[in-house]
């Protein structure tokens, strides 16, 4: 088993040491190293990773601000030299807290916790894929798959549209495509994921859900038609 990870750390020597620990573990694939929150966010919103090694105090913004702005919730191991952050770490449900410099033994213990949590999450996802949780207005909101009509891209944000309400959250269609239940949802255009059970009709290169016209791209049209129960 291999977990993808990213190191967000402004101190070069700490980043290099963490990278070496990752390599030594044989369990981690380092996808990148970023020295500030802005660059890390750009990468993380376009690429989903399993685990973040995250420093707290960095130029511009803190590691906690990165977690607030991220559209999904990877497992997080904080790497900091300030023990005072332990309480915040607990608040953000981070997996472990490594005080720099840490030994490989200590790193390994933290990694084992991440692996254990990854296994537990996989089980939870398999048994509860009839809903998702999204971060919206500073809280986690539960949305049942059956209530979602479609998801629309808005640049660095996406809009979840239900019959009752619209929710905007920081995420990308690309990242969500991997996360949503594939038996109900399908990407029909680079800017849209739709709930297949909610399609009312299709006219040429558009589909309609509750009166909203949604384009189907040429690249996706054949796949969309295959998924529909056409007699």
């Amino acid at each position: 088993m291999s977990l993808s990870c990213v190191i967000v750390e402004d101190l070069q020597v700490a980043a290099e040491y963490t990278r070496k620990c990752c390599e030594k573990s044989g369990l981690l694939e380092v996808k990148g190293h970023f020295t500030n929150v802005a660059d890390a966010l750009t990468f993380l919103n376009a690429n989903t990773v399993d685990l973040l090694f995250l420093d707290v105090e960095m130029p511009g913004a803190t590691g906690f601000e990165l977690l607030d702005q991220l559209g999904y919730t990877p497992k997080v191991i904080l790497t900091t030299s300030k023990a005072e952050y332990a309480y915040d770490a607990f608040e953000y449900s981070v997996i472990d807290f490594l005080k720099k410099p840490f030994t490989y033994q200590r790193f390994s213990e933290a990694l084992q916790k991440a692996v254990a949590k990854d296994n537990a999450t996989a089980v939870a996802e398999a048994t509860a894929d009839d809903h998702i949780f999204i971060k919206s207005d500073g809280k986690l909101v539960r949305l049942n798959n059956d209530d979602i009509l479609y998801i629309e891209s808005m640049g660095d944000y996406v809009k979840f549209v239900t019959a009752e309400k619209k929710y905007i959250t920081h995420n990308t269609i690309k990242a969500l495509e991997e996360k949503v239940n594939k038996s109900s949802f399908m990407k029909v255009h680079r800017s849209y994921i739709v709930n297949l059970t909610k399609i009312d009709d299709i006219r040429e290169n558009d589909l309609f859900i509750k009166g909203t016209e949604i384009p189907i791209s040429k690249a996706h049209k054949q796949d969309v038609l295959k998924r529909l129960n056409i007699i």
């Binding site: 020597v13 290099e16 070496k20 410099p101 030994t103």
Partner: protein, 155 residues
């Protein structure tokens, strides 16, 4: 003029092979590395065991970032920019832990705490001067250890 024949002439092939395998000018046991007394060897060993090439790399990376960061730290103090002083000492603090100088890391921590509680940067003048002296000494130690590692690893 070569004089190899003076020796080789009298050495049988089996003995020659042994000489080649265990060269006389290189000891089979590695020569011990003598650390600077200010370096906490136990702390270094807990991080890198006896991987001297890795220690050389770590000391090199530390030096290349620490020198400009120390300049920014000192400039920030001269400009009386307290948030920047605190941020820089926070940033450089763990560097010393990675190079076996945990006492310097601890002094940085104490200064960072003073920064967090200070209302006027002038309150920090005395501890700042003491810290700068310690940091300058530490930089000399790190640099000298780096060159020692380099020489040791090339031998």
């Amino acid at each position: 003029m070569t004089t190899d024949y003076l020796v080789n002439h009298f050495i049988d092939p089996i003995t020659q092979n042994r000489y080649n395998y265990f060269p006389l000018n290189k000891p089979t046991d590695p020569k011990p590395f003598i650390f600077n007394q200010k370096i906490d060897q136990e702390s270094l060993h807990s991080l890198y065991e006896d991987d001297f090439p890795y220690m050389e790399e770590i000391f090199s990376i530390t030096l290349s970032q620490l020198k400009p960061d120390l300049n920014v730290f000192k400039l920030s103090f001269e400009r009386q920019d307290l948030p920047s002083v605190r941020q820089m000492v926070h940033k450089i603090k763990p560097s010393f832990g990675f190079v076996g100088l945990p006492a310097v890391q601890q002094t940085c921590k104490q200064f960072e705490d003073l920064c967090a509680n200070a209302t006027d940067i002038d309150e920090l003048k005395t501890p700042y001067i003491a810290l700068c002296n310690q940091l300058d000494d530490a930089l000399i130690v790190i640099e000298s250890e780096y060159f020692k590692f380099k020489e040791y690893n090339q031998a």
